[in-house]
Assembly symmetry: C2
Homo-oligomer: 252 residues x 2
Amino acid sequence: MSSYTALITGSSRGFGKSLAFAVSSKYPNSTIYLLSRPSSHHTETFNNLKKAHTDGTVHKVDIDFNDAADTDNPNNNYINVFKDCIEGIPVPTSSSNKIVLYNNHGTLGHLTASPPLSSVPIDLNLNITSCISLSLLFSSRFPLSSIVNVSSLAALKPFPTWSLYCASKSARDMFHHCLSLSHPTLKTLSYAPGAMDTDMQSHIRLNESDVEMKEAFVKMKEEGKLVDPDVSARKCVELVEVGKEGHVDYWD
Amino acid sequence: MSSYTALITGSSRGFGKSLAFAVSSKYPNSTIYLLSRPSSHHTETFNNLKKAHTDGTVHKVDIDFNDAADTDNPNNNYINVFKDCIEGIPVPTSSSNKIVLYNNHGTLGHLTASPPLSSVPIDLNLNITSCISLSLLFSSRFPLSSIVNVSSLAALKPFPTWSLYCASKSARDMFHHCLSLSHPTLKTLSYAPGAMDTDMQSHIRLNESDVEMKEAFVKMKEEGKLVDPDVSARKCVELVEVGKEGHVDYWD
């Protein structure tokens, strides 16, 4: 019998939450791990998914990708939490038992031409270091698996006020490209989900310092041109199913 | 009277050292800051350059780009050392007074398909976080200036055993591209100096785990096809002089 196991980071809201429901809908018997910071959103998404996912299993994992440097309590850092999580999952021995990491968490950061210096290590650790560390751990335990790196147009195109975000997405794309070249049975997909109608977009409409960009996003919202995250998530899950690799945009 | 000031990171050996001598040779009256970890190489390069650069000034700055987390002694961390350094340099008020940051330092890291997890934050902090932090500090103090991000073919092309290095170079290119878009009077050049005959190449020939890549580099060395770092450095300094921007390879 075939099985499907999905680990989704940053799953409490936005695109991560949509991914969780998309997986549940396509694979009713699947096992889904929701990995997010402890929060009311995390609990709410877990409870709602559990109600919907009656033929499968849902696990809630509290994990904070900011806390690598929690030297006072090393057992609590995200590396150990993630290790514990994946060591509890049996290693699939055939390709009909699918296991997928949706490496989705990240922060857009400050939307200014000169981000504060203190935000540089914080944003880069969260967006790059933790993302890469998770993919290394996951690919090492599950050589026969798939990793989705949630990417962005910002991985390919520079935006003047998104420098740390663009750098992060660019690094993630390149890292996963290298990883797939060196791990022949691992599939990696860098999926750019489109400009979606999520909290992240509200944040951009409020805080973007580049006037032209702000107006463009406000116009997209007004004209209903933002992508529905549920639709984009279903496309992403489908791309994984057919074994698509490399950088793929929602609009491709 | 025109002036030229260069700050060169990772200047004790290899391409950084070549850059220092290339600047000295083209701009005999220039002021050159050598920024490296305290080491015998650093002292030797400083002494040799001082002997050659008799019409200009050479400063030796001890700085360790690994020590951002030196919380016991925050005055010693590289951010503060770099701030102190640039705050001692007058801000140019016209484009005939040129100031250039050669952001050159970095590590190739482990040359394996699965780098050790502990190396991820170390390599990424050194290659990305410190590089970006320096460029932000520099561009903020010197809006009318140039930054050279020492890049690589690895910024554009994935190499299976160089995943952290490729990700780092890709992030650096993208960050500097964004920075130049948001800072109209700042010029940024991401210069890929070619596969050079330096200590880094000896390290690759000894430690590369990908057999094909190792053989390719050994062959380049044997056939004398590795680039002379002094020649590549002179090309880089010339590209800055003519105001070239974007990603430029030695072979372009």
